[in-house]
Structure formats: structure tokens, C-alpha cells
Symmetry: C2
Subunit: 188 residues, 2 copies
């Protein structure tokens, strides 16, 4: 009987992580992913997004038996009914979720044990552009401030270096900090 041991750090299977990296080194096309979402308007500011399928690692993923359902809405002061967080709040969630994965996976790869990890985010947004009252103000966030709080036995300089590395490689931080081309079509 063969005994298999797996290296799990921070809940991350490091053997699988190394295996993934080696597989991609052998076949770079495995790194090409296509992520998807479908959204329907419900009424007023309320919409509902379903997220299930994606393409990656050379195949359509089949791991999700049903879609994740995300509600979007506005608060009453922005004419909605609080059926969900609004779109720019969802951006903050996406950013923290991405940095969390990046931090924890890279910590695991480096053998750094993370005891806890928290993020606080705040973004400044001036509604003049969204309401069509000014074209001198941008519609989106003027800036976003984020603070990490990490508990770990690792020395401070190692954690700081890890933060820096995570910032360089975070997909959502890149999407927010740098331009992404978006093509938009109105179907017939």
C-alpha cells in the first residue's frame, strides 16, 4: 500500500501548486483562461449575475454544478432598494478577494504560515460624471486606499516583500491600476 503525503500550507495544497506551475511550464497554453458572467436586469437598480462556466487549463471547467448568483443594487440614496451591494462596492470586494488569494498562495509557496489576514478598503467617487453633471470629473474611483493586517510568525521584512510581490502579480490590482480594453456590442 502506497502512502501519499501532501504538503498543505494555509489551506493551499503546495504540491498541487507546484504541479500546476510545472504543467504550465511544459504547455503554456494551459495558462489561458476565459472567465464569464451573465447578468439580467431585475428592476430599477437591481440586477442579478450568474457565474458558472469558464475555460482554463485546456478545457471547459465542469466543477460547478450550479451558478453562483450575485445581486447588484443601489442604496435608497442612489434610488435603489439595497437588494445587494452596488457595482463600485463589488469592485472593492474583487480587489481584496484577489489580494487575499495572491498573498496566501505565495505565502504557502514560500513556506510562510499565515494565521490571519484582513483588508479594509475605501474608495472616493464623485457622482458628477455618472449623473451627467460634469465631464471634468471621472466617473470611476478617484483613488482607492487599502490596508492589510496580517498575523504571521514570519519576519516583517519577509511579509513586506511578499506584499510587494503580490501587488506586482495581482490580476484585479492590474485591472484597476492599468487600462483594460473592453469591447461592447449591442445585439440585435
Amino acid at each position: 500500500m502506497a502512502v501519499q503525503t501532501q504538503t498543505i500550507v494555509n489551506g493551499v495544497n503546495v504540491d498541487q501548486l507546484v504541479g500546476t506551475i510545472n504543467a504550465i511550464k511544459g504547455n503554456p497554453d494551459l495558462a489561458r483562461f476565459k472567465f464569464r458572467a451573465e447578468t439580467e436586469w431585475i428592476g430599477g437598480g437591481h440586477s442579478r449575475t450568474r457565474i458558472q462556466s469558464f475555460y482554463g487549463a485546456g478545457a471547459e471547467d465542469t466543477s460547478r454544478s450550479k451558478p453562483f448568483v450575485l445581486e447588484g443594487d443601489e442604496p435608497p440614496v442612489l434610488l435603489g432598494q439595497n437588494a445587494g451591494p452596488n457595482a463600485v462596492e463589488a469592485v472593492l470586494h474583487a480587489l481584496a478577494s484577489c489580494l487575499s488569494v495572491g498573498f496566501v498562495y505565495n505565502a504557502a509557496a514560500q513556506g510562510i504560515q499565515v494565521d490571519s489576514l484582513e483588508f479594509k478598503l475605501e474608495g472616493d467617487l464623485d457622482l458628477h460624471a455618472f449623473l451627467g453633471l460634469s465631464d471634468k470629473v471621472r466617473p470611476g474611483y478617484e483613488n482607492i486606499r487599502l490596508t492589510y493586517r496580517v498575523k504571521s510568525d514570519a519576519p516583517r521584512d519577509k511579509l513586506e516583500a511578499l506584499c510587494d510581490y503580490v501587488q506586482k502579480t495581482s490580476p484585479v490590482l492590474d485591472i484597476i491600476r492599468n487600462p483594460v480594453p473592453v469591447t461592447i456590442d449591442l445585439e440585435n
Copy 2:
């Protein structure tokens, strides 16, 4: 007895929308909002975001008695357990949620009745940067494709003009298409 009538189009209170616009014209500071999120790492790729408070219209909002809770995780092929959509999928949700609000609110302001509105989104992402295997590939989406499907009695050219206008004023589309400064601090 005074009779009050309200103009509701697409579930949007147009009187309130006009009132908001006039209030901001009178006091531009009312347009300054601060949106927030707090995220805690749960384990592996799994994190949980709470969204509740924000500042806007000159005051801290008190409309939400409890936070919205959003789960983030990765699928098994990316070493997670599908406790939620991943961070770059959440970006697609945020984008569609934003365009939905923009389209429906502006349609209401123009007196355009919307019967239904749907979005499909797909983004291409190469994992080489996230996995530290290349610095020639960007970490985030290379591009995002989005299609609208609208049912409305309004003529096609009016809907196209509305789509164009919404693209110019959408906060999340601006955040994705253009650079947003993000400051990140590691707390002691």
C-alpha cells in the same frame, strides 16, 4: 388631502432622480461618496467580504441594518473549493451591474421604457504573471468582451445612443478602462 403622484419608469423614481440632480447642482459636495469593504481570509483561496457603510450625500448612510456578505474563492483547478466566484469573475459582475444601473436610470430619465436587459461577458486572462512565470504577460484581463441584449419599444438609434452615453459615464467601465491609483499599506 394632498394627492402625490410619482413618476416611476423602469422601477426608477424619476422625480427622486431629478431631485438628486438638482440637489447636487445646488451643493456639489453632495456628490462626494466614499464606498467601503472589509475582507477576511477564511482559508486557502477562500475569503469573505462585508459591505455595509458608506459616506455620501453629505452623511454616513444608515440604510443597511446588516452587511452584504460576499464569498470569494477559486475553483479546484486553481486550488480552491468553489466557495464563491473568483476575483476576476467578480470584476465581470461589477461591470455588468454598473452598466445595468446606468442604462436603466438614463433610460428612465429619457422616458425610454426598458422591457428586459441582459449582458454576457467574457474576459481573457493568462495566468503566467499571477504564477510568477512571466513578466511579459500582464496579470489582469488582456481584454473583456461584453454584449448587451435590450428589449424596448424605443428605436434602435436611440438605444445605441443610450449605450454610448452609458459607456461614457459608467464608474466601473472607467475603473477598468482607465488607471485608478491604489495605495496599499501593511499595518503593524
